[in-house]
């Protein structure tokens, strides 16, 4: 049981690494099959084959899930943890599809298994960078939340302005659609599906573009400063005592 635990949950031993690599290949293969199955032409010719592969992968993941429960020291903790829930969600929909035949949208939930890759990513010792980015984002989350609430209020103001100026004849049929246009514009995505046609509307949208183009500086500045502070925090104390003259 302990050996199983080390192989499946650990990454130190050779067998643990090999298991993780196998698992990542299985997850990617399974996700690829689900994606290919969604293409109408391929579903028509290979739908049955894809389904058989899918059932096979589900059985595999079910066995893995069972072993994980069996060899966990604290079983309840594993089952109720985020990883445990994702593991369950990635096998459940296939079984549900047997019981409720027409549940097409359920099969999509299977794609959640891509989230499982996060766990296996530990393998690459990339976790340091990954944890660093997440930590910086967490530290700047309050400032970014404030920035977002400002952007959302801006999009509401621009959305209402354009709704009053352009009106339903140009495609701005309601305030929610106008706010959708404002988000498309201020984030500089610019689909072009809803577009101002009057002179006043174009002036307002030009202002929105210039605003969106320049306020992108704010989250960048916040994250850069936080990341730099974090980096310096590690080196700073050493640097202050480091006069080559004095150390001698």
């Amino acid at each position: 049981q302990r050996r199983f635990f080390r192989v499946i949950f650990g990454t130190e031993s050779g067998a643990g690494k090999a298991f993780d690599l196998l698992l990542i290949v299985a997850i990617l293969a399974s996700v690829t099959v689900i994606m290919l199955d969604s293409i109408p032409e391929l579903h028509a010719s290979y739908g049955a084959l894809f389904w058989r592969i899918e059932v096979m992968f589900t059985l595999l993941f079910t066995v893995e899930y069972a072993i994980r429960i069996w060899c966990s020291e604290n079983r309840r903790e594993y089952v109720t943890s985020l990883y445990g829930v994702v593991d369950l969600l990635s096998i459940l929909p296939t079984y549900m599809a047997f019981l409720i035949p027409g549940a097409a949208s359920l099969t999509i939930v299977r794609l959640l298994r891509i989230l499982r890759i996060f766990r296996v990513l530990r393998l690459f010792s990339l976790v340091k960078e990954y944890a660093e980015i997440l930590d910086v984002l967490r530290k700047s989350s309050r400032a970014i939340f404030v920035f977002f609430s400002m952007v959302i209020i801006l999009t509401i103001i621009f959305g209402c302005l354009i709704y009053v100026i352009e009106g339903p004849s140009s495609g701005f049929t309601s305030i929610p659609i106008s706010i959708y246009w404002a988000i498309v514009t201020i984030t500089t995505v610019g689909y072009g599906d809803v577009v101002p046609v009057t002179a006043a509307g174009r002036v307002v949208s030009s202002l929105g573009m210039l605003l969106g183009y320049s306020i992108i500086a704010v989250p960048t500045a916040i994250v850069t400063t936080k990341l730099y502070e974090k980096m310096q925090g590690d080196d700073n104390r050493v640097l202050n005592w480091n006069c080559p003259n004095c150390v001698r």
Copy 2:
């Protein structure tokens, strides 16, 4: 009167926090109703209901406005302050709609009440980050203003160039429209509603895109530097005390 003041304007007491939470829910609900009312399908079926809810919220905000005036120590100051004007503007349009029936665009002014949320945001102690961002933007406002005037002169130059090159046959029917195209291009929004079709026009617009793609670095650099300076400004004094001279 004093107790009312503390509850309505303050955020320290428990009752003050509860009042602020209630108010934020009321504001968001009222804004949501106005937005939903602008969707033609919903207006057709629920227009009367929305109007009744709207009148109810207006009465609520009127009572709140009256209490605010009553319990203020300096009533004139409150009424003429930005918050006081926004409070008034968010209830006035509904009453005006009773007097002037056809004033559809007036109802939009009611959306101004979203601005009231800024006040209640104090609740979340987020004000520090919010004030910081505003302060950095204020400090870099002169540099950003210069940057903007450069961008606007660039858009005018690109707009005139494309107007001469492409001409009315490709949709560039006037210089203002060509400048609108230049703003859409340089801010990297790219709607695609007005697009160059000649070889020369595409070369010019490619230059505009590359320019717009790279000068975004300027406002980002300004805001990042100002924010970092501000952050360091707080820590600097502490850092200076780590003087190798003094530690001995």
Copy 3:
């Protein structure tokens, strides 16, 4: 002569400031008239009026140009300077239009007078920020040039790839057009006038988007670092000697 010089070229005296303000209003008014004249509807109804205003402004600027030459200490220097050439170019096209009637594109050159605003901008004491931004851009110009040559080589590679993959049937009729598409994609403008339709083309363009989305970090990093170095360069020496303990 000296007094005229001080009023026209200087910004210190009250009369000099008033003259600069008048000039900036005249330039903006004149540019606005040229823009409005390019709108077909307005040209049809007010074309004659616009032309009369234009002639009036040209006479005004001619008088100003003459006085500038007359009161300059070194006349040749002024005439051959960039400002002198722009001043001449902003009045010449109107006179040329009298001689060669059909020279429509010549009238566009008049828009060059917007460049004259740069001179008057001195008024706002904004020059410090303006000079700072230009200085930082000049210092990072070599690095940005290298970055640009990398981006251009990338667009050529992506343009050739998509030309081979998509071919003329999807609108990629030649390599130059495919490179134009690559620039539109990598700079994240995304007009949508030329768009990949095959699966392979979409994979390639997705790679191009992700690349363009992330390498924007390079010029931003360069400009931010240079700007920060410049800012620190001014303060650094002071900071190093500034131990509050030691100064006593």
Copy 4:
């Protein structure tokens, strides 16, 4: 042989610089000819001329390639090096076109010779900046790889969400196309060829836009911090000598 080596591979001597300049002109001219040849109108009128110029350039590059092999000290090393392979690939397709007449796509490979410019870029002493940018990108490559894997997982999640919400009727005919849409949206390119039309789809895509708009801060922060650290690393030692201890 040694003199040839110095002229062809070196950049110090006057003859070496002149040779490099000639080579860069030849490469750019040859690439331009290939591009112009791809335009149908020009190919129709000047196709034969372009082919003759192409053959001439190929002979020239063949002679250059032969001399390079001849004067290399370690011939095998040159031939198997990246530069040697690129040199060979840029002449081979033209000879292949004589043997296999219909190989249209092969001619594209000739465009690989644009890569040869990288070598000649040494001439401009720009290599320092170029090497610096590449070095910073290499140092931040792990963090950027992590960022990319996060972005790709995000695009998969958003792609699946929109596929379930919008479905084939709005153009989201398969999961791969929906992921393509998610990449177009999150990178803020926004072609507008596939666009959400339902209310729920627009809400999801708005979230995707805001996310893509703000997480661009992450790679920018990483590269800026790494570049700044690198810059400081060079100056730091000098800065440390300003120790208040030592100056006395």
